[in-house]
Assembly symmetry: D2
């Protein structure tokens, strides 16, 4: 039924968010609220699996968290003292129920639920092996590889999980719910985020700290790269099953993915974006009348740019939030109106003005082009664009929905060509050096940079096993189900 | 949403029907029509998996076949030259999507879809073993055991299936769709039915021959007990992978399950029912004014009884077919009206009359009691009941939804007590001997009776492995999902 | 969404059923059950309006009565001590919510709800007049004319209704619910049925007596032609606001519309049909092996024919009741399968036999043709058709959905041509004289026949005002709403 | 199904928006887009009626414009060269289909569709009169009074409308679609807005100019108070059927209702809000570290306040837009979390800071209290509140959803008590004088103020006929329908 993705825009997308809580009588309700706060990371499907000491009540659905879990009767059926949850941004086509997480399995040692944020880089390779061994996959998710590996190991949940982690490569954070514990894992490089929180005596895990704020919980700390934490009746314990690696946290979490009010690796996301805006105003200054953010994600950098350049900050572009789930434009004649469904020019601050538009990133360049066009039609005298990230030149294989390289504008054009294509008077991106400076990090060290910045540099910290050798044309599943 | 099963009645229920076709451009459309004709065997859910040479398009849903597959767009997406389908009567609770067949698996050797009518008697035992080996079950169906066994064997589809069949016990008919063939299997005793048909050059398989009539196909023959047929581009070939067993076809197929216009094991179901009615009129004659069937299933036996006793046959009870999917009676005061939602007395042929009510069977006795009451209120002078089957005294473990033994009226009461409880002036069942006579079989031979008649005799032809030893309390799945 | 009318068949259709009850705490529940029993008269939409002493809670919907009113919460909201209800067979296109009855209006004298079975023959004429006066129509129903006339009269409900009845022409039965009473009206000729029932001390009205049986109420009497009954706290009172007219009850109610277990004008419908079958066996005997009804409506006449001709009655055609709400045939190649979705041949009693097919009527002849074809394919030696009504040669304008005259097979062909077209070996209809004889009436008197038999004779008892003069092309409403 | 209004907040709500276009082949598509842009004025239901020269295709539904009109098939069925549309904010209870506009009537002179923004102040009085005359109301909307008055007048559409306008009192803008023209009307005081736009040669009407921007049309002018414009094949003509009145445009349109990018009566809404913020910073200065808007509506005034006070503007509160259609909090224990579903504190700019929160208005005070609490929990040193409107002390009867007076915080408390109740360190509202100054108007003249500011002053420009005399307890309709 969903004919157009209302969230379709010219952005990279974090594919998922995860949440888990143990020891709390309102486990499912807290999980639903936590997922609600994390929906900027994935709003197409969501699920919760709880555990009541005997059964694992579960509910999964397509749509917004509020719509899936908003009815009291749903939360009441998700009875239990522990729960994990997941929200999902599906990468292609209609979302399929069989891919909605958490996944669940009845193992020899009891029930097991898993939710996963990230991507395995040896998923196809592993899946092939497992199918050869007789494993039957229900979904096309990477996560199911972890489930099958755990099913075919021996020992306790922690032993099976530890053994499984040796087999998989990639960038991931996991929450696992078994009959006696909630487990959280972060990959050895710590590419994807995972934070620990506490409400009363109960621990919880989430992709971002904003999930704690909504329920009045407190942020304790980030789970460390390569750390595995076990939360059960005895409390919390830490394990480090991997060979230690250089930390390479995803810098795009600061640029766009995380919510501005989250604290990530100890740094305020909003503050980071503002500092990038200030740095950008110094690197690429421009004489202008007004600094205009492309809402909502461009706002903090635009405030920074305005403060750094001492130029007025104004809402020159208004965003319409009532987009609904579907909007097909009815004919070719008015198809070009597309972008205006979401944005419109606030003429009072555009007409006759020299305008600086600030946005967080450019991926394909489709939206920015239409916005520049709209701003010019509204009578802007000059249109300058400042982007609060370096040019996005490489695809991400670590759990982010990026287009193929040939669709990335910056992978195929230099800045001058991009400017012409977009139709701006000037265009500038923050430099890599400026980005590290703004983040308060030392100069980027080629040997051991602090962040994963592969989308800007092509320097991939984790081996891309599935990308090597001949491209494997085999689809993950021969089943094409309609529902 | 389904609050009352409109098909809930005092009947045993065949749990499933299956259908398969190979080599036909309209494979899915023919399968949908075949399933439509087989809905008396299961009308709560249905599914079709097709094969187009590369992919296996599939669609499964809850509800009637016409509602699930009635839209042209659905059939068009089920593109392919081969297809199998399944309709399901779910035994307890709300039907769950994850149990709707056909099941599908991506195996090392390609895609595999399976649909199954019947029951494995060692399902719990096998499931435990497979879970210990690391298999992950998605459904709670017996059928998934077959899928996992095939996934973990080696060799071709036929080799894997043959090897699998050695492991399982029970009463079953299967249709299997692989990348190169459609396969049909009937269990060694031939308890559950499976027939072969042909349209043009294309073979098809179905639970009953009425599925061929609807599409203008012709009935070729019954698949033999223990036979495995492979239908592919080369044509059809027969295999007999089992040690030969005494045939024990389910006699209840004649009494109630099969459609009256089906030909089963060479015998017309309608004719069989009529002959039972005639036999019953000789065994238990009664002086009466009118023979009244309990519609619709009692009709053929009532016609036989009327002919055998030379008494007028009349529709003294009218059935309302517009029952809809839900009907909750709104209060205690009118709850007792329940049965009238479906049946009403045709006073013109009841008032002042000596009435013989003929039905096919009595399970719990709940419906017949209300009908006798209704007929008495309508002014019947006498009410006699004649049942066209022996007393149902034992549960079925071979793919039929029967209540626990203590809910079977005949398991706990003799015929006199039953008559008093039901409130009839007389009550008689056909005898076992009369039943075999009516079916044209020699006298029942305790060593090797022709039919499975365990529900009347307790003589179970296939070992009930799961019923032996201590009852295993473990549920099949710890997951309780709501959707 | 409804793409094919599953009830589409070659029948005339009664367009509606009505029900009303006063003084009962379970008014809405009883009304829902009464409507359930009346669904053979209209199963596409239904509605109930109750009255609780202050408000008129209402619920109307598209679909089966059980689906619209099956949930307890719905009935509970329809609180009140009086209620009226309606089920509807919509004549063309998708059913529209705005035409679902009962209609309701807030009048100067309080709330008013009306439900209507029948047709006004001066509806277009009256509607035009009312629109000129400034009345705004919401529906395209005849019933709304009555509502507007009542709104613009003066005086009490009964005075307004009496005055209104002087203005309208047609065949109708009405139930009206006002703030102090339930009113029932039958048109002066009594063309459409309306019966009075009683449960405890409470009176009720219904289109047929089978609506009383379902709730354990008793049939009191038929409302007389031209009678207006007022049921309120004081009890029941009778009024006769019309100039008395010759009674002309619709004979097709006996032939097809009414349920076989209903008593109409003192005669059992089932008995009437059987007597027609007997009469027909004498009028048009045929040497045959088996008498086969076309189910379900042909059954009573076939039993009569079998008894009258002393030939075995057998279910040679089986009907599939699981038709669902939609069934599009997927391609031209299998479109001709249409009829088999509902009927199939029971070969055991067809092959090699001389078969007499008995049905109640032939309208367009489409279904009978396919059935004869099916029966021949099943190997019948001879196929004879006997129809338990005279040839249907004229359209009905009195509340029955009939095709235009040029679509009526008998209006355009004599019996021999019809037989050839249908492909039967012989074809016979009951004669008009035979019909009256079977009904126990004196020979049809051209001056004052006992029944309205216009569909067979063209003798229309009520003036067809809207059919006179030039055909008025103006549509009833310029609004075409989609929902 | 809608259990919690996701738009429920502490705001006054404009109840409707209207749109109309004539002479354009994409009339319905443009109307859908126009309504999409106007949804901030009403997002619970929407409808479109088009005219194709013969029929009036229509579609109305509950929900967002994108969901109701997003499918191509819907727009295609709304064929025609003219259309009007409406979006609705329903004031109480579940939205009812029968109240969804545009309303439609088949009049003697042809079809007529009407959509209406505003409120009639003599609606109950007129409705009573019309019911006495025999008019039947289908809805409980004021708009239907206009329809009935037009139906019972004589002459052309314009004559009937002119005559109707003499009878009604209130604040309203109307669009009317007849068989030959699109008509727009604005009430004599011009309380509610209506603007004229043009695309190519085609005129259009809308509540706000932002509806023109989305489709690339140009704003021509505001319709004048008391003006009636007729748009047809001949072009556009202006009529002034009323005695001229002092203009009294609703000042709250600037404060909250209109979209910031709209130009209303020649003034940019965003600019007006900013100027109020600046004025407020001068009237009620405060020593602070950061100016924080309550998003989204407080943003322009906060930017103004920041500029006026030379204090940094920061997004100290983050809003979650993924609220979905339902969200019931699952238990008392976490019910107090309510507000956090929508807002969260951005600690980096709150902790240890002296914070000025800027919002547009306070109605009940419920939301601001929770926000102050949240900001204090996040560690703010001081919390000051500045409100960009005067205290809201009176209810609106002119088409705005306001609570009863006793629920208005400012109607019952002085500013000091409000500050204490809210828990702020200081609280200030813009003064009436400051508001007029910011709007660039001369000092408020008691005789003839430029704006309707009754919600702040109690000075109601239009007589409240329905509010005079004894309160009339009679409900508008006795029908309570559930669907």
């Amino acid at each position: 039924m969903l004919t157009t993705n209302p969230f379709q825009d010219d952005k990279l997308h974090e594919e998922c968010a995860i949440f888990g809580i143990f020891g709390n009588d309102e486990a499912a309700a807290h999980t639903a609220l936590g997922l609600h706060a994390l929906q900027h990371r994935g709003q197409e499907a969501a699920g919760i699996v709880a555990f009541d000491g005997a059964q694992f009540p579960a509910h999964r659905g397509i749509g917004l968290v509020g719509d899936i879990f908003g009815r009291k009767s749903v939360i009441e059926r998700l009875n239990g003292f522990a729960a994990i949850g997941h929200t999902r941004y599906s990468t292609s086509g209609a979302p399929m129920m069989r891919n909605v997480q958490p996944l669940f399995a009845d193992l020899e040692i009891g029930g097991l639920a898993i939710a996963h944020n990230g991507n395995l880089t040896n998923a196809i390779t592993m899946r092939k092996q497992l199918v050869q061994q007789g494993c039957i996959f229900q979904s096309t998710t990477d996560t199911e590889i972890i489930v099958h590996l755990m099913a075919t190991r021996r020992g306790s949940v922690v032993e099976r999980l530890t053994s499984t982690l040796q087999q998989i490569e990639g960038a991931y954070s996991l929450v696992v719910l078994s009959q006696d514990s909630l487990i959280g894992v972060r990959d050895p490089h710590g590419v994807r985020p995972l934070v620990l929180g506490k409400i009363g005596e109960n621990y919880m895990l989430a992709s971002e700290s904003c999930a704690f704020d909504i329920i009045g919980a407190t942020y304790v700390r980030d789970i460390e790269p390569g750390e595995l934490v076990v939360i059960n009746k005895e409390g919390i314990s830490s394990h480090f099953p991997f060979v230690p690696q250089q930390q390479r946290f995803c810098v795009f979490e600061y640029i766009y993915f995380s919510r501005p009010d989250s604290i990530v690796e100890g740094i305020s996301v909003y503050e980071a974006r503002k500092r990038i805006g200030i740095e950008l105003s110094h690197e690429s200054p421009v004489e202008a009348d007004v600094i205009v953010p492309i809402p909502d994600s461009g706002v903090p950098a635009a405030i920074g740019f305005a403060q750094g350049s001492n130029t007025p900050f104004e809402y020159g572009i208004i965003r319409n939030h009532y987009v609904g789930r579907t909007f097909i434009e009815p004919s070719d004649e008015i198809r070009h109106l597309g972008v205006k469904l979401k944005h419109s020019a606030n003429r009072a601050y555009i007409t006759g003005k020299r305008v600086v538009l600030v946005d967080d990133s450019i991926v394909r360049g489709t939206t920015i082009r239409k916005i520049v066009d709209m701003v010019r039609q509204a009578g802007a005298k000059e249109v300058h664009i400042r982007i609060a990230s370096p040019p996005t030149t490489h695809s991400c294989y670590y759990g982010v929905d990026t287009p193929e390289r040939n669709a990335l504008l910056a992978a195929n054009s230099d800045v001058d060509s991009m400017r012409d294509l977009i139709g701006a008077d000037s265009l500038a991106f923050i430099s890599i050096a400026g980005l590290y400076r703004a983040m308060g990090q030392p100069e980027r060290n080629g040997e051991a940079p602090h962040y994963c910045d592969a989308c800007f540099t092509g320097d991939y910290p984790i081996q891309l096993t599935d990308q090597m050798g001949e491209p494997d044309k085999r689809q993950l599943s021969l089943l094409t189900e309609f529902n």
